[in-house]
């Protein structure tokens, strides 16, 4: 797969190096965040035990093991998140969570109480959605692991972009709110 993508990307300015490195980094992604041996071991040990059994029938008869794996997936995810996320990024995540809550609240209100000032609802809702995706973009751009994807965007540039885009977004929202 990596070889193929490399071929396809030949001659394109975001040079093939990034393509290979991204694909390789995705395949080996679970390895770097393994300073603690606790997290990956349950994940890797489980597949080894049921490897031969589940590869063929995992998709069809997955109802019983799903519950167990599901627990492990969630626990893995939380531990990974807590261990490997920088403090700043966690701050961004808190903001995103807040935006999600606000958006859901607005939506619930709209469903329950009607959407009468539709302008107001739309601009409020799209302000939260827009801010959410902008924050997500900022988070993506400032994450260390994604550095190779954005050769042109330094963290400072990302933040400046974020501010400009937010200004544009809120200008439109205020203009639209009536």
């Amino acid at each position: 797969m990596a070889q193929k993508r490399n071929n396809a990307n030949r001659g394109v300015s975001p040079n093939p190096k990034t393509a290979t490195t991204t694909s390789s980094s995705t395949t080996t992604a679970p390895l770097p965040p393994t300073p603690n041996p606790a997290a990956p071991i349950p994940g890797s040990s489980r597949p080894t035990s049921s490897h031969s059994a589940t590869t063929t029938s995992a998709k069809t008869s997955a109802s019983a093991p799903v519950a167990q794996t599901w627990d492990k997936v969630v626990s893995n995810l939380t531990t990974h998140y807590q261990k490997s996320t920088p403090q700043r990024t966690k701050l961004l995540d808190a903001f995103m969570a807040f935006l999600v809550v606000v958006g859901v609240l607005q939506f619930v209100y709209c469903v329950l109480a009607g959407n009468y000032p539709f302008n107001a609802f739309l601009s409020g809702f799209s302000a939260t959605v827009g801010q959410f995706v902008l924050t997500a973009s900022l988070r993506i751009q400032t994450t260390e692991a994604n550095k190779k994807d954005f050769p042109a965007v330094s963290p400072e540039r990302a933040f400046a972009d974020y501010v400009v885009c937010s200004l544009i977004l809120h200008f439109f929202c205020v203009n639209f709110i009536n």
């Binding site: 070889q3 193929k4 071929n7 396809a8 990307n9 030949r10 001659g11 394109v12 300015s13 975001p14 991204t22 995705t26 992604a29 679970p30 965040p33 990956p40 994940g43 890797s44 489980r46 597949p47 995992a58 998709k59 997955a62 093991p65 799903v66 794996t69 599901w70 997936v73 893995n76 995810l77 990974h80 998140y81 539709f118 739309l122 799209s126 959605v129 827009g130 995706v133 902008l134 997500a136 973009s137 900022l138 993506i140 751009q141 692991a145 994604n146 994807d149 954005f150 042109a152 965007v153 990302a158 972009d161 974020y162 400009v164 885009c165 544009i168 977004l169 439109f172 929202c173 639209f176």
Partner: protein, 811 residues
């Protein structure tokens, strides 16, 4: 170098001389000559060869241009100091930009500033904007159109065009350059065609590493007839700026996607918003960008860059589009916009999954994926189906259906089908509008397949959909033209770059290439292998380059010919040739509108078919019943009914709508095909759609199914108001019994139709426009038929008088 350029220029000058009989055109070449040697020295060596190839084109092309056009074009290009960064590369492109507007200009130089149909409304609206300011324009209620109803113009138009020219006008005034707003309007389209050329240059340069491809794309964009049709000076239409915005938005999108930058995405969204403010065709972008994103996802090319650029574009762009009152809530309510929203949501999911995948082992991820993604997909699909069936999301609009099913409009919405621009494209039209490019277009797309990076996928997707839509609707040829120019430029520049390399590859080069090929060919698809092929013979090079040069020359000549013949004459003024070859200008439209302006009351209501509504409003400044903004189908059908019914039926309708004059276009004397009798069946169809009991299309055809106007015509046809108005008094022009309709080659009956409720007020020189005054009620209470009969001395009709008067009186 300089000498080479001069010799070449001299050759090309002599080539172009047959096409430029006027001595002033040589003088016109002068400014471009000055630029050439300078640019020649500045260009890099490789480019200079290409410049040599394209210089001939350019000179040929400027050989016949009018003197003022190049100076205007230079002015246009000087407006963009930002591009000085690209100057060494751009200089030829600048000249191309200079050349781009020069084609269209013959239009105004020959016919003064006459504008075709649609622009009249835009011009009128711009005048209103400039006179009354932006806020009044936003709230403009126009009571001089759609007579009894009026039109909320401010909320039902795309204001981008008017605001642009208003802003330019104010800017020029701020620099104390006093310009009439009319001149701004007339020259806006050529100016923006220069910008389009630059945008095409930028877009193409994102696709390939050859600079020459961008230059060629700029050249093609400047002269392709498919685009020239809308960038003629005086073509003050929404498309004039919309194509520039389309191409530039695509450029910004590619830029945003390549860099994964929020800022470029925001620029893309801003220009998308501008596009939405300018043209209804913005839906093309709204559908194409999500499609591109979707295809990338399907190819397994999801990347964080895609997430950043797409979500930024969508979040900002949707909000920007909702600022336009005419668009309003459509982006969240109609199905056309749903793909964009769907991809937006889908990308959120993908980003989340991507994050999760990097966090947990792959086996766990698989189960996670199946449960999570499957659940979300089913849920969202159900939500979409429920929302559509519950009417929260409007189904696709009629115009959109007609894109998929070409027969749809004809059956369901005759008003859409009746516009000639909404007809399916005929095959020759592709060749006519794109010529050479239609052959090299697939080559360019193939080359994109060979590279297949994200931006090439965009060109491929655009090419496929643009071709399809251009085949469905003539008008959408306009959206196809940019991608054809880009792909064609990629193809031609690749050919030229391969064949213009001076050195022949040596043996070692070839062996090394073969070795590399053997190594590479073991893996991957066959199409991804690129064998290094050198061109050895000098003759093959000369042959190939020469052939390409000849093709390009023919292309330029074709464009010049099409522009001067098909797209330069404004539809208001018709040009024809006298038997001795001299040109004869037929100016009936302006004559008639001038008559209306000077001989009728300020608020005299004019009834005509809707095609002429904007012209009457703009040139004659009189209120109309219906116009080219076809927002009210019933009102149009009312006019259609009045035109296609008997006088006894039509008269009350006209009285109710306070019609003072009726205007018809008649081409029978001159053989002018765009007249009302030829459009008559559409009036009948549209009227039949609303009143199927009173108007029937079948009744206008003879029992043998022919549409005739001569003695064999059906009674319904002969008694219809349109027929009577067209042929009233037409017999008197000819010796008895020899009246001939030259348009339809039909011999008319000996006794012409008689009119009793209308009287002839004006007929233009060539009988193209005929205006009738609606008679007032009779003084002594008779109905009009018996009053006319009385004046003719036929007293027998007296008996029917009383019964008739009751029928015709209007309360």
């Amino acid at each position: 170098m300089w000498a080479r350029g001069k010799v070449l220029a001299a050759c090309c000058g002599s080539l172009s001389s047959p096409s430029s009989p006027a001595p002033q055109s040589q003088a016109a070449c002068f400014p471009s000559f000055v630029g050439v040697p300078w640019a020649w020295r500045k260009l890099s060596w490789l480019d200079s060869k290409l410049a040599a190839a394209s210089l001939g084109l350019f000179l040929c092309f400027s050989g016949s241009c009018e003197s003022h056009s190049s100076s205007i074009a230079l002015l246009t290009c000087c407006l963009f100091p930002r591009f000085r960064k690209y100057y060494p590369r751009m200089s030829v492109s600048h000249m191309r930009c200079a050349a781009a507007p020069s084609r269209p200009l013959p239009n105004i130089s020959r016919y003064t500033n006459t504008l075709p149909v649609d622009p009249w409304f835009n011009f009128r609206a711009t005048k209103y904007l400039v006179a009354n300011g932006f806020y009044n324009f936003w709230d403009w209620f126009d009571d001089r159109t759609w007579h009894p109803l009026g039109r909320v113009t401010g909320g039902t138009l795309y204001p981008g065009l008017m605001v642009t020219s208003g802003a330019i006008w104010h800017a020029l005034r701020a620099f104390t350059i006093p310009v009439d707003i009319r001149n701004v309007c007339v020259l806006l389209a050529p100016a923006f065609s220069g910008l389009t050329a630059i945008a095409a240059y930028l877009l193409t340069n994102e696709m390939t590493t050859y600079n020459s491809a961008g230059l060629l794309a700029a050249l093609f964009m400047g002269i392709a007839p498919g685009y020239i049709s809308r960038s003629v000076a005086g073509s003050y239409d929404n498309e004039a700026i919309a194509i520039f915005l389309l191409v530039f938005t695509f450029y910004l999108w590619i830029k945003a996607l390549k860099q994964g930058s929020m800022l470029w995405g925001a620029f893309c969204a801003l220009f998308y918003g501008y596009m939405v403010a300018s043209w209804g065709g913005y839906a093309f972008i709204t559908c194409l960008l999500p499609l591109h994103a979707f295809v990338l996802i399907l190819m397994g090319r999801y990347s964080t860059r895609l997430y950043v650029s797409y979500t930024t574009w969508y979040a900002l762009g949707t909000l920007a589009s909702m600022q336009i009152p005419f668009v309003g809530f459509l982006p969240v309510k109609t199905s056309e916009h749903m793909p964009a929203l769907g991809i937006f949501g889908f990308l959120q999911l993908l980003a989340f999954l991507d994050y999760v995948r990097s966090a947990i082992p792959s086996r766990q991820f698989q189960t996670f994926l199946w449960i999570f993604a499957g659940g979300i997909f089913v849920l969202s699909l159900a939500a979409l189906v429920i929302a559509t069936s519950a009417g929260i999301i409007a189904p696709w609009s009629g115009r959109f259906y007609s894109l998929w099913d070409t027969g749809y409009a004809k059956i369901h919405i005759p008003i859409i089908a009746s516009v000639s621009e909404h007809q399916p494209t005929a095959w020759p039209a592709f060749f006519f509008d794109l010529n050479l490019l239609i052959f090299v277009f697939p080559v360019g797309v193939y080359l994109c397949f060979q590279e297949l990076a994200d931006e090439h996928v965009f060109i491929i997707v655009y090419a496929v959909f643009g071709s399809y839509f251009a085949g469905v609707m003539v008008r959408l040829m306009l959206t196809l033209t940019p991608v054809v120019c880009v792909a064609g430029a990629i193809a031609i520049s690749t050919i030229l770059n391969n064949y213009l390399v001076a050195k022949t590859p040596t043996e070692e080069d070839q062996q090394a290439a073969e070795a590399a090929e053997k190594k590479g060919s073991k893996s991957g698809l066959k199409s991804t292998n690129k064998p290094v092929v050198g061109i050895y013979g000098l003759w093959s090079k000369i042959l190939m380059v020469g052939a390409m040069a000849i093709y390009l020359l023919i292309f330029v000549m074709h464009c010049t010919w099409v522009t001067s013949n098909a797209y330069s004459s404004p539809s208001v003024v018709l040009a024809s040739r006298m038997p001795d070859g001299s040109q004869h200008i037929i100016d009936d439209y302006r004559e008639a509108y001038q008559w209306l302006r000077q001989n009728t009351k300020e608020d005299a209501k004019i009834m005509s078919w809707w095609d002429y509504g904007y012209q009457i409003g703009g040139m004659a400044d009189r209120p109309t019943l219906v116009d080219n903004n076809t927002w009210n189908n019933t009102h149009i059908a009312t006019v259609g009914k009045a035109m296609s019914s008997r006088e006894e039926v039509s008269y009350p309708i006209m009285r109710q709508h306070e019609v003072d004059y009726v205007l018809v276009v008649f081409g029978g004397l001159l053989g002018y095909s765009g007249d009302d009798i030829n459009k008559f069946l559409w009036m009948v169809r549209i009227a039949e759609g609303i009143w199927p009991d009173e108007v029937s299309e079948r009744a206008f055809f003879t029992p043998r199914g022919e549409y005739r106007v001569d003695g064999e015509a059906t009674e319904t046809m002969k008694n219809s108001l349109m027929y009577k108005m067209s042929y009233y008094n037409f017999n008197n022009l000819f010796p008895p019994g020899q009246a001939v309709d030259r348009m339809r080659q039909a011999r008319l009956p000996e006794v012409g139709p008689s009119l009793s409720t209308l009287e002839e007020a004006f007929t233009s020189e060539n009988w193209i426009i005929r205006i009738y005054k609606v008679k007032d009620l009779d003084n002594v209470g008779r109905d009009h038929i018996s009053a006319t009969a009385f004046e003719k001395g036929l007293k027998k009709k007296k008996a029917t008088k009383k019964r008739g008067s009751r029928v015709l009186r209007v309360d």
